[in-house]
Symmetry: C2
Subunit: 145 residues, 2 copies
Amino acid sequence: MNKNIPEIYDLIQELSWRFGNHGFNGECCGDLSLIEFMTLKKIDECKEITIQEIGNAINFTKSGASKIIDRLESKGYAIRADSPVDGRLCCVLTTEKGRETLSGIVKQYTLNLNNILREIEPQEVDQIRESLTILVDALQRYKEG
Amino acid sequence: MNKNIPEIYDLIQELSWRFGNHGFNGECCGDLSLIEFMTLKKIDECKEITIQEIGNAINFTKSGASKIIDRLESKGYAIRADSPVDGRLCCVLTTEKGRETLSGIVKQYTLNLNNILREIEPQEVDQIRESLTILVDALQRYKEG
DNA sequence: TAAAAATAGTTGACGACGGAAACCATCCGC
DNA sequence: GCGGATGGTTTCCGTCGTCAACTATTTTTA
């Protein structure tokens, strides 16, 4: 095992914690919980996605996914539409309001991050981006096979 | 703003999500939730810590913190002890079983991470460690002032 | 082609979990 | 030594996700 792994594990854990639901002083994503936010983001990325797929994407049961959509729908951020090809399926879409909220949250987070990294040298910031890319890609590959 | 910030934000979010409570197929930390695990870790690092301090550390109310300790205590991973200096205070400590469980979880996570990074070049792994260190340090400084 | 099985989604009951506030015990300033 | 402050616990409550039962639609099969 590479000697750096334990330390990397620890660093990732710390990072995840601070960016998770309890970091940022509990202030997460406006009127969305972290899960609602990630779900909305997923819906927006996919343009159109079924309840089942949402459940798989966020590791929830279809029942749990359905209730998250209930909440997003009641806040006006997403809507359910009938599938034209299969009457059982339910296509979930983001609304314009949902997209605006999403980009507002991203903007806020990005500003925060910019403050956090304010004093870091540009070439180091570049290195951080590269490293994270490698890391996330490796995770993706690992997940897929 | 540095051009890389939005992408870095996105990468961190992705990373956090996968290492958070819902990543790893919901398999988090044995019989501990992520919060219980982080709390136990914090207790172990501090050797001895009050309920209030735990609450601050994990962004919970003292009430919530007290209940987490209830759970950790019922599982045999932590114990409450009276403070010798102040009768109101409650010193929380890890038990031997708690420490074993903690290190077991860390070992498991570390092995997973090793698999994930198996195909990454050593010098890249080194770069990842460096980058994450810079990032976490920056977060720490930001939090402190 | 009609019945049976499979699949997608919803709903209701339930348990787990944190927060708010009231409460208790202990400590500190006067 | 009394009154306020502080740390912790407890009770009540709202939120949330799962399980299992149910409905509706589609696919399989005999």
